[in-house]
Amino acid sequence: MNILLIVLGLTVVFTVLAASVIAAVLLHSKRMRESERRFRLLFDSVFDAILLLDENRGIVDANQSFCNLVGYEKKELLARPLDDLVVRERWPALREEFGRNLTSGIGFLGETVLVDKSGKVVYAELGGKGIRLNGSTYLLASFRDIGRRIEAENALRKKNTAMSELLTHLEEEKMKYRLQIARLIEETIMPIVNRLANPDGSLSVAQCEALKKGLKDLAISSGGMVYALGKLTPREVEICNLLKSGKSTKGVAETLNLSKMTVDKYRQNIRRKLVITSKEVNLASFLKNSR
C-alpha cells in the first residue's frame, strides 16, 4: 500500500507539475498576446509612418500609416528593400545616412522622396535611429507626409516670382516717368526760364504766365492729376465717372435728372479745375486716359 501511495503521489505530483508548466507557458503567452495587440494598435494608430528595417534595409515591419502612405499592403512590403520605394537620385545620400546611423547609433532627420504603388511621388520628412533587438541591429525609420507643405512652398515660390516681376515692372515705370519729367523740364520749362528776364531786368508777365502753365502741366503729368481731381466737388466727380464710362452730355443729364445746359456748365468747371486749356482736348478722352 505504501509503495502504491509513493508511486501514485510521485506520478500525480510530476504530472501536475508538468501540466502547471504548460499552463503557465500558455497563460504567459496569452498575456504577451494581449500586450502585442495593444502595442500593434498603438503602432498602427499613430499618424507617423513607421518602418523597421534590417541591416540590408529590408522591411521587417511597417505600420498602417506607412502602408497608407505608399499604397501597398503590409504583406507586399515585408522583406522588400526600402530602396525600391525611394526615388533613385535620392537614394545614395539616404543609404549613406543609414549606414552611418547604424554604426553610430545617433538619430538623423532629413527629407526624402518616396514612390508609391501607383508611381506617384510622395514627399516625406524622415527620422531614423539604429536600435538593437534580440542581438541584431535594426533601423527604426519614421516618415511624415509633407506633400501639402511642399505644395504650399511651391505656390509661395511662384507668387514670390510674380511679385518680383511686378516690382521690376514698377521700377521700370518709375524710371520712365522720371525720364518723361526730365524731358518736359528740358523741353518746356527751360526755354521759358531762359526767356523770362526782359533786357531791362524786369520779368516778362507773358513769360511768367507761360512758366506757370508749363509747371501745372508738369505737375499733372507727374501725378498731379490726383491732386487736381481732389479739388472737384462730389457732383463733379459723379459727372466725371459717368463721362469716363462713355456717357454723352445728354446721357449724363438724363441719368442725373439735370438739364443739358447744367451739365455743360459742370463740364466747363471740370475742365478749368483740371487745367485743360486746349479746346482740342476732349474731356471724356482726357478722363479715360488719366489714371
Binding site: 502504491l4 504530472t15 504548460i22 503567452s29 504577451m32 498576446r33
Partner: protein, 209 residues
C-alpha cells in the same frame, strides 16, 4: 479488467493520431518533423507488438529495449534542431551515442530481456523532461503571444507531460506488485493519449504555417 483493456487499447490506438496526421501533412513538414513521423510510426508498431504480447501473455521486453535507444536518438536529435545555443545543441547530440552505449550495456546485464528496461527508460525520461523544459523556456523567451501556434511547443508539451508523468512508473516499475502497477497504468495510459493528441496538434500547426 474490461476498463483496463479499453483504456490500454485506446492508448495503443491513440498512437495512430500523430501517425495519421503526420503522414497526411508530410509534404509540408520540415525535415525534423519528418523524423518525428518516422518515430511515431515506429512507436505505434512497438505499441502494437507489446499490446499483442500482453494479450497473448508471452514474449520478452525486446521491443522496449530496441525502442528506447531509437526513440531517444530521434527525439533528442529533433530537439537539438531547435536549440539556438550551440553548446546546448552539441551537448544534446553527444548524449545520443552515450545513451545508446548505456542501452547496449543494459541489454547485456544479468537480468536479460525478461524485465523492463527501467534504468534506461527512467534516464531517458529525466533527460526528456530537462530538454523539453529548456526548449519551452527558449520558446517562451521569443514568444510574442502565439506560442500555441508553434509546433515545437506542442511537441515539447507532449514530451514534458508524458515523461514527467511516467517517470515514477518507469523508475519504480520493478518494485511494484502487479495490482499496484495496474492503478498507475491508468494514469500512464491517460498521459499517453494526451501526449499523442499533442503530437498530432504539432503536425497540424506546422501544416498551417
Amino acid at each position: 479488467m474490461t476498463a483496463v483493456f479499453v483504456l490500454t487499447a485506446t492508448s495503443v490506438f491513440s498512437a495512430l493520431f500523430p501517425v495519421g496526421v503526420g503522414i497526411g501533412t508530410i509534404r509540408r513538414l520540415k525535415l525534423e518533423m519528418r523524423f518525428l513521423v518516422g518515430l511515431f510510426i515506429f512507436a505505434a508498431l512497438v505499441e502494437g507488438i507489446t499490446f499483442y504480447q500482453a494479450l497473448s501473455s508471452g514474449g520478452s521486453h525486446l521491443a522496449h529495449y530496441i525502442y528506447a535507444p531509437v526513440e531517444y536518438a530521434l527525439l533528442i536529435y529533433v530537439f537539438s534542431f531547435w536549440q539556438e545555443n550551440g553548446i546546448v545543441r552539441r551537448a544534446i547530440r553527444i548524449s545520443i551515442p552515450i545513451y545508446i552505449l548505456i542501452c547496449l550495456a543494459d541489454m547485456n546485464m544479468e537480468k536479460g530481456l525478461n524485465s523492463l528496461n527501467v534504468l534506461t527508460r527512467s534516464l531517458a525520461n529525466i533527460i526528456y523532461v530537462l530538454v523539453a523544459s529548456y526548449t519551452m523556456l527558449m520558446l517562451l523567451r521569443k514568444d510574442s503571444g502565439s506560442i500555441y501556434r508553434d509546433f515545437r511547443f506542442w511537441i515539447a508539451s507532449g514530451v514534458l507531460l508524458y515523461s514527467s508523468g511516467s517517470l515514477a512508473y518507469f523508475t519504480l516499475h520493478n518494485l511494484m506488485p502487479s495490482d499496484i502497477l495496474l492503478v498507475v497504468w491508468y494514469i500512464h495510459n491517460g498521459l499517453n493519449i494526451t501526449a499523442n493528441l499533442m503530437y498530432a496538434a504539432a503536425f497540424l500547426c506546422q501544416y498551417r504555417q
